[in-house]
């Protein structure tokens, strides 16, 4: 990916780009939506954050939240049939802003989907705790429909606050 594309991506993303400030570091990752990539995705984001010396607990929180969002895309958005997941992260001195995007089926009622233990797939032993975990382990969470279909999950973790 050339630097022009990277720049355009960071600038069009209002969330991953704190107003008026440039992140110290930025990453973008595009992966196939298969469950084998969950461990890869969470490890990449955790490694990306390592340079600002987060605590072990903060890193685990981030890994867990990323794993939840990626699993949602793999299982629900793409119904385990594959697709593209994009992960962007902007690192600041004391926080990381993470976006996870898919072009899958989306969620009709996001507010309901975010409720603890709500799942459309109880028969598959899904816990329905994915969004609750993201919300609890991160400091900010926003879930939005993407124009043209799909979902965008935005999360912020502050490194000063011990969760």
């Amino acid at each position: 990916m050339n630097t022009k594309t990277l720049k355009r991506n960071t600038k069009t993303s209002s969330f991953c780009y704190k107003s008026g400030t440039t992140p110290d570091n930025f990453m973008s990752l595009r992966i196939e939506a298969i469950n084998k990539n969950e461990a890869f995705a969470r490890s990449v984001v955790a490694a990306f954050c390592a340079s600002v010396n987060p605590t072990v607990e903060q890193l685990t929180d981030i890994k867990t939240a990323v794993s939840e969002a990626v699993t949602n895309s793999v299982v629900h958005a793409y119904n385990s049939k594959g697709g593209i997941i994009e992960i962007n992260a902007s690192l600041y001195a004391r926080s990381v802003h993470i976006e996870i995007l898919d072009s899958g089926m989306g969620i009709i009622d996001i507010a309901t989907a975010r409720q603890p233990f709500y799942t459309t797939r109880a028969s598959e032993e899904r816990s329905g705790m994915g969004f609750t975990v993201m919300e609890s382990f991160m400091d900010e969470l926003a879930v939005e429909a993407r124009e043209g279909g799909g979902l965008i999950v935005k999360m912020v973790k502050h490194f000063d606050v011990s969760a």
């Binding site: 607990e57 032993e125 609890s136």
Partner: protein, 103 residues
Amino acid sequence: MKIIYKKLNNILYIGIAGELDEAVAQNARDTLDSLIEEPHIKKVMLDMSELVFMDSTGIGVLLGRFKKLKARGVPLHIANPTKAVDKLLTLCGIYQYMPKVSF
């Protein structure tokens, strides 16, 4: 993800190590189900001292096994969870179904 087990005095000790997520969940379900099918067990102890990562997919796996055991009247306990896993189990209220024990 690796699962080991040992039966002692009709207590089934199962150790689950590594990472438990969607990628290995079905493998975990199948392996755990084949182990807990064992008759004459009065309790299952799931040792999580070497489980370094788990997400909510793992919660679904645990609740599924809990229900199967409960139908037979066999309690399931969670032993020695790592700090990371303990935080998730606490958030999800799992210990009200599967008490936490240390040994």
